[in-house]
């Protein structure tokens, strides 16, 4: 012990570096042990699900994707499959990839801070929570025919018929959606000039485009729930 203390003084650099062995490696080994024990313990008591042999002629009701995709399946209630199942996840992945190139705020690099990057943290945390809220709804609150049930309700097959839905007239839909993106892109640039200037046109447009698409996705859900609107824009070729 003493030997170590003496020798240490000789080699220590003047920085906050510590020896990986044992400081870090010990923690990693401990973490590995805890995870292994936890997984084995859980696996000993809880069985993995296994249903009957697959039968193409008899659909499960409800048929659910694995839980981590249930947010997207839940989005199917509000959007056509091309959006909920393909374009929305595509935008999410693309948006995630773009984050480092859009966020040019030099502060908050390598430490926890909310104050120095309020916009970035708020946006990300909102999206992250939203993703899991949808997963929760899709997993726990959707029963047969994807009907909605509260946690205390029993899943039955006779639930009230959902109210009829209607599309917005095409011109109104285009005005609403065009106006939403137009206002969303221009207003913040006018009101928060320094935000716009710091990002530059390209970063700003991409950031706001992605943000508006995320908010728009939520708004469409609200439209459906509150006003029974099926499509904001309905055309023979594509519906949104």
């Amino acid at each position: 012990m003493e030997v170590r203390q003496e020798k240490r003084g000789l080699v220590e650099f003047k920085d906050d570096k510590v020896f990986t062995w044992p400081t870090l490696v010990a923690k990693e080994f401990l973490a590995a042990i805890f995870v292994t024990v936890g997984l084995l313990f859980y696996s000993y008591f809880v069985d993995a699900p296994l249903r009957e042999l697959s039968n193409p002629g008899q659909a499960e009701n409800p048929a659910k994707a694995p839980w981590y995709f249930l947010g997207l399946q839940e989005a199917l209630v509000y959007f056509d499959p091309w959006y909920a199942g393909v374009v929305l996840p595509g935008i999410i992945v693309l948006g995630l990839i773009l984050i480092p190139y859009l966020d040019n705020n030099p502060k908050g690099n390598g430490y926890y801070t909310f104050k120095e990057r309020k916009f970035a943290v708020t946006t990300f945390v909102f999206g992250y929570i939203f993703w899991y809220v949808l997963i929760y709804i899709g997993t726990a609150l959707r029963g047969p025919f994807w009907a909605f049930f509260w946690p205390w309700e029993k899943w039955t097959h006779d639930f009230p018929t959902p109210p009829p839905m209607h599309d917005l007239p095409l011109p109104l839909g285009i005005i609403l959606m065009g106006g939403f993106y137009f206002a969303g892109l221009t207003l913040p640039a006018l009101v928060k000039r320094d935000f716009f200037m710091k990002l530059g046109v390209i970063r700003y447009s991409l950031t706001m485009g992605l943000l508006l698409t995320m908010i728009g996705t939520v708004i469409k859900m609200v439209f459906r729930l509150a006003f029974n609107v099926k499509y904001i824009i309905a055309t023979p070729w594509i519906n949104i």
Binding site: D16, T23, K27, F69, V93, N105, N109
Partner: protein, 256 residues
Amino acid sequence: MKVIPDFLKKITDNEIWKSVFRHGYTDTPRNRALQIISNVWLHLHPAKVREHGTKIRFTWCMGGITFFVFLFETITGILLMFYYVPDVNRAYADIVDLMYVVPFGRFLRNSHRWGAHAMVITVSIHMFRVFLTGSYKPPRQFNWVVGVILLVLTFLLSFTGYLLPWDQLGYWAITVGTNMARATPLLGHEGPFSYILGMRPDNDVRFALLGGTTIEAPALLRAYVWHCIAIPLIASALMMVHFWRVRKDGGISGPL
């Protein structure tokens, strides 16, 4: 009486031992460094790291745990492959055997299943931590991109495994999942504008995924090969890049 020290010296002070272990274990700074750099696995780490990077409250240890669970899945997965054949006539029976006949089969299958869920959870927590510490900022932008691809691969690994038991749960989950591909704009036969490319049920992107128009033997085989070979290989390669970049980008991020 110094039998034990003498004995230990006999064991360690000879050519064979020294050919395996290159340095002593006395606690000296030199040995601490050697412990890392003379070990092919541990030298993924530098000999010294910035102290805050070793704090669990900084990294939450989530990247490391994700990697560890991946290794756990590799081992349990290889063991499962001894018992499971991706043939529609016996896949389900193989799983039932694992649950009721194979010694520790149920335990093995459970661990692999729950490990898969655990990995999806830990990777998403890891991403959350990396975001909150702003660790994707220069010079680590590209490692974040590699991370996002790893995230998608983790989902796909889990998803392709879901079909393999060939039970109602997996079958209909994959049905729901792959039906989405039908709706891909341009490339899925029910997607917007797909008529431009002349998409039909038997030539669109869903057909390519399933190897057919319905989920049958080719789909099971495809899921199996992606799950056991292709995606693990791609993910391993990207993890190597990921870890390499953590070091090349100056080690774990931290306040300057």
